[in-house]
């Protein structure tokens, strides 16, 4: 399968934070959800792909070319939504259309205004007078109106109500009807990612913890609940991480290493992320993590 994005051992050092050997890929025809807590390195990774930060090491390829060597035409094939709105807020939609015609070689005015109408965005009102949700919709409308083959979306649904989020997810499903398209999407709203994504890449402390197929994750991991003492009875490596609380102990476990007799619960992406991240940090619950 062709990779639209391929990142190998990406490094970026800041004063108080580093990305370390970040490696993952976004194959063609696939939606990759990029998860991690605030400050884990999601935005820095996305900015590195888009050429907004200069990496200190590693390799980033987009459409099979080094990211730094992408032409304007190549970059025009990337639709980006960058967290906060990154459009001229003093302009209305008609102005934005007028400007984007000269920014993107394949700008589609008809599609832009069709999306604006779908999202009920007024054409004559300045973007600065829009609500946060409406601004996000403008950003997405722009990203989808210039013939992008790859969408890179940093928190595109943040600040949106469930109905608006659903509308956006629907648009992203439509985008993925073309098998040559791909999406890399980061979001804190894990339920959105669970609906949309084929793969999940999880970053923590500037390092990729895993990149797995979403369905494999739910086959691989499960939640076990019981007593702290009972944890010791399982085979080594079965317990990925556990939390000890007032009313018992729960653990993220590997299904295939657990005895068949043990009742296990489905582990959602949010559960998996939580168990990996909270190790050793809990205040209410005593948390201990023993990574496999």
């Amino acid at each position: 399968m062709t990779d639209l994005i391929k990142i190998e051992k990406l490094r970026k050092n800041f004063k108080d934070f580093s990305l370390t050997d970040v490696t993952f890929r976004v194959p063609q025809g696939v939606v990759v959800g990029f998860i991690g807590e605030n400050g884990a390195g999601k935005s820095t990774t996305i900015k590195s792909i888009l050429g907004l930060v200069n990496p200190d090491g590693g390799k980033i390829e987009v459409f099979g070319k080094p990211a730094a060597a992408l032409s304007r035409e190549d970059k025009n094939r990337i639709g980006a939504v960058l967290g906060e709105t990154a459009l001229p807020e003093n302009l209305n939609l008609q102005d934005i259309d007028g400007v984007m015609k000269y920014i993107f070689t394949h700008w589609d005015t008809g599609k832009f205004f069709a999306l604006a109408e779908k999202f009920a965005l007024p054409k004559d009102k300045k973007v600065k007078d829009f609500s946060r949700g409406m601004r996000q919709k403008v950003s997405l409308a722009v990203a989808l109106s210039h013939g992008a083959r790859l969408l890179i979306l940093d928190e595109p649904t943040s600040g949106l109500d469930p109905v608006a989020r659903d509308e956006i997810l629907e648009l992203l499903y439509d985008f993925m009807q073309d098998e040559t398209h791909s999406i890399l999407i980061s979001s804190h709203i894990v339920s959105d990612l669970e609906k949309l994504c084929d793969y999940i890449a999880f970053i923590h402390g500037g390092r990729i913890v895993f990149e797995e197929e979403k369905d494999v994750l739910s086959e691989k991991y499960a939640i076990w609940r019981g007593t702290y003492e009972a944890l010791g009875e399982f085979e080594p490596g079965a317990v990925v991480s556990y939390m000890r609380g007032e009313y018992g102990t729960s653990a993220l476990v590997l299904r295939d290493k657990m005895p068949a007799s043990q009742p296990l619960e489905h582990a959602g992406i949010e559960d998996i992320m939580l168990y990996f991240v909270r190790g050793g940090k809990g205040q209410i619950a005593e948390v201990k993590q023993c990574l496999v």
Binding site: S71, N76, E89
Partner: protein, 202 residues
């Protein structure tokens, strides 16, 4: 590139109307008082105020992130801002030669020297200020902007004093030299800004 400049024009068009009114007032005052300093001083101010305003909007809107992610190069973003500053300055400066045709005290060698001198001062202001804005951002560079404007006024006062001492062609030659130097430094300043901007992380 055109899209970047068009976006700047659309962004600051509200202010441009305000500046136009100010410019008309200053032009009238310059003609009535036979004192071109009002006009040339105003256009030097506009030369930097307009691009700095446009850059302030861009900073607030995170526009550079979007533009870079969309295929604009860092060089294009820098060059577009320099061109945007010239877009209004050059025509307004060229218009200042019309003052030479106004009957009265303005139709003098002194007016010609002031036009060239302030033309150069305008370039120098942009040459110094724009790299600083690229380096520090609009807010931090604002102090420099104010200092530069005060400096231009002070140098202008010095020039007026020179005219009282020296009535020959020497002041005109100096003024043309200041203009030429300011204009030559413009692409140098742009190159410095490009180098600053190349290393910037967003």
């Amino acid at each position: 590139m055109f899209g970047l400049i068009l976006k700047d024009i659309k962004n600051v068009r509200g202010q441009m109307l305000y500046y136009l009114v100010v410019l008309v007032v200053f032009t009238v005052v310059a003609i009535v008082s036979d004192n071109i300093y009002y006009y040339v001083g105003a256009i030097v101010f506009f030369l930097v105020a307009l691009p700095v305003s446009a850059m302030a909007y861009d900073e607030k809107d995170n526009w550079d992130k979007f533009a870079l992610a969309s295929g604009m190069s860092r060089k294009q973003l820098v060059v577009a801002r320099y061109l945007f500053s010239l877009l209004f300055y050059v025509p307004l400066w060229a218009i200042s030669f019309i003052f030479l045709a106004v009957p009265g005290d303005l139709a003098a060698m002194e007016t010609l020297a002031i036009i060239f001198f302030y033309g150069g001062m305008g370039f120098f202001t942009a040459d110094v200020l724009l790299p600083l804005v690229f380096k520090m951002g609009v807010e931090k560079a604002r102090i420099t902007f104010i200092v530069m404007i005060v400096l231009v006024v002070a140098v202008g006062a010095g020039l007026a004093f020179l005219f009282n001492l020296e009535t020959g062609n020497a002041v005109l030659y100096v003024s043309v030299a200041v203009f030429a130097l300011g204009a030559i430094c413009f692409p140098v300043s742009m190159k410095v800004s490009e180098n600053i901007y190349k290393r910037k992380d967003f």
